[in-house]
């Protein structure tokens, strides 16, 4: 057989193998997590696990409710902070900033996006934790170690900024300038144009960006783990410690070897994490693709 043809054949087949392997990987991961969770699901029903409030692995109690609540609160607040700030920043960058400033901000965003989570966690620990402990908590008359839900939320929101901002800036810039001119020539101010034309035209992209940001925040393990306090109880206030699903896995993994159901419970948590993040990401991508097809922006 011709040497070139042989090389071509092997090359193509190798590519095929790699592709098949990777394409099915997510499915394999899903199956294995599911399989490992079966163990605990045989002893307790899923609703028991999700709704009971006591997480005490040594006693065989695996109530995830407080941790789920913790996750919702931390993720929710981080988005509450991140979305307005990101949207306003994105509007500024694409509509108001002079070219020179825009060129400076771009690299800033790239670097922010590239900082590893563990460094975010470290900086939150060095800056936010003392801030909460010594300034914010006393102001409210609460005693806090600084390792709390608020710290984790703020940290997450900074991590989410670059994601939402870059997607929004991309979307705003894709809107034809003539549309903006059309609004301005009727006598609208720039801000009115942003409110009524740009936001409306980019709405699907904005929603998609928020969904992707949510997915990121929900799945963030290390940075949250370093500052949230790791207490598996419903936090009594934002300044008290809590726990999230992702952070739980990191905290608990070392200890789980001794307790038999523990590992399975953690696999279940990983499975929940996987499925939820998957849903939000897929939703985000689908919304984005559909928006591009419908509007072209």
């Amino acid at each position: 057989m011709n040497k070139r043809k042989l090389r071509d054949f092997i090359g193509t087949k190798l590519m095929l193998i790699a592709t098949v392997f990777v394409s099915l990987l997510f499915f394999v991961i899903f199956l294995i997590l599911l399989y490992k969770s079966m163990f605990i699901l045989e002893t307790q029903s899923i609703s028991e696990l999700l709704l009971s409030s006591l997480w005490n692995p040594e006693k065989g109690e695996f109530g995830l409710y407080p941790i789920i609540m913790g996750t919702i609160v931390v993720t929710g607040i981080s988005l509450l902070i991140a979305v307005p700030i990101s949207l306003l920043s994105a509007v500024y960058i694409s509509e108001y900033a002079p070219g020179k400033i825009r060129r400076v901000i771009r690299p800033f965003l790239d670097v922010l996006a590239g900082v590893p989570s563990v460094v975010y966690g470290l900086c939150a620990f060095l800056f936010l934790v003392p801030l909460v402990k010594d300034v914010i908590a006393p102001w409210f008359g609460i005693e806090s170690t600084g390792l709390c839900v608020l710290t984790a939320s703020v940290t997450l929101s900074v991590m989410v900024f670059p994601i939402i901002i870059s997607l929004c800036v991309e979307s705003f810039s894709a809107i034809p300038i003539e549309l903006k001119e059309a609004s301005l020539s009727v006598g609208a101010t720039k801000w009115e144009t942003v409110k009524k034309v740009i936001f409306r035209a980019s709405a699907p992209s904005i929603i998609s960006a928020i969904l992707l940001g949510f997915g990121r925040a929900f799945g963030e393990t290390i940075a949250v783990n370093m500052v949230v306090g790791g207490i598996p109880r419903i936090p009594s206030s934002l300044l008290h410690p809590g726990q999230t699903l992702a952070s739980l896995i990191a905290s608990a993994y070392g200890e789980m070897m001794s307790v038999p159901l523990y590992e399975s419970a953690l696999m279940l948590v990983a499975l929940i994490l996987f499925v939820v993040v998957l849903l939000f990401n897929v939703l985000g991508v689908v919304v984005l693709r559909r928006a591009k097809r419908r509007w072209g922006y």
């Binding site: 002079p98 070219g99 034809p176 300038i177 003539e178 549309l179 903006k180 001119e181 059309a182 609004s183 301005l184 020539s185 009727v186 006598g187 609208a188 101010t189 009115e192 009524k196 034309v197 409306r200 035209a201 509007w295």
Partner: protein, 255 residues
């Protein structure tokens, strides 16, 4: 000579520098009020830039340097005292390709009205109807006012954009080759509308078809690569051009 009182827009030594070259150089123009002025000249020689400088839409672009004065009703629009959105309200814009806003037909027309404070539903309804009628679109859309504007045909969209522009009662209507994206029938409809408009508005029409200019213009400005070569009443410029370049362009020797 046009009497001073009848000039709506006047530029004095207008220079626009963009992308490392002069798009407009030393432009002195007088646009008479309540007439249709055609701006003619070869493609790419600054006609659109001239139009967009009148309502300061050029402010949107980076790296643009403008010098000189543009007087609208005697007032320099570059003066810092001037309220730009208000000034823009006086000038309606019709672009080459129609760009309906991402909303319903009704809301497109009502857009400008709402911005300037009209909230009463009944007033809005009658205003929208009135301007759609003026634009000759009412009968075709009266049953689907709340459909997205994007569903209209290109010709209809252009008439919608016209309705939207005149809804805020401008004094000037700036048209940038408004029929170039349209089929002949739609183009004809727009031309009819433009002729109708000049009773109440000052129309500035950029066109690169001489025939269109001859059909519609009362007054003509010939722009050649950023410089004003000749301007004056339409029959003077078309039948008795003074500058050799004008003669050549009109004959079709240069384009």
């Amino acid at each position: 000579m046009i009497k001073k009182l009848d000039i709506q827009i006047e530029t004095k030594n207008l220079n626009v520098y963009y992308d490392k070259h002069y798009v407009l150089k030393g432009v002195n123009i007088e646009i008479p009020a309540k007439q249709l002025t055609a701006v003619i000249g070869p493609s790419g020689c600054g006609k659109t830039t001239l139009l967009k400088s009148f309502n300061r839409l050029l402010d949107l672009r980076d790296n643009i340097k403008i010098s000189g004065k543009i007087l609208v009703d005697g007032e320099n629009i570059f003066d810092s005292k001037v309220d730009v959105p208000d000034m823009r309200k006086k000038m309606g814009l019709l672009s080459q390709k129609p760009y309906p806003l991402p909303m319903s037909i009704y809301n497109n027309v009502a857009y400008g009205l709402r911005i300037h404070g009209k909230k009463n539903a009944k007033e809005l309804d009658s205003a929208v109807k009135h301007y759609l009628q003026e634009a000759g679109l009412w009968n075709e859309v009266k049953d689907r006012l709340h459909d997205p504007a994007s569903r209209l045909s290109v010709g209809q969209q252009q008439r919608l954009c016209l309705a939207r522009a005149i809804a805020v009662e401008p004094e000037v209507v700036l048209c940038d080759e408004p029929t170039s994206a349209l089929d002949p029938i739609a183009a004809q409809q727009i031309e009819k509308l433009l002729l109708k408009l000049r009773k109440d508005y000052t129309v500035v029409l950029v066109t690169h078809t001489l025939r269109q200019a001859k059909r519609l213009a009362d007054h003509v400005v010939f722009l050649y690569f950023g410089k004003v070569v000749e301007q004056g009443p339409a029959d003077e410029v078309f039948n008795n051009p003074k500058d050799p370049k004008t003669k050549a362009y009109i004959k079709g020797e240069i384009s």
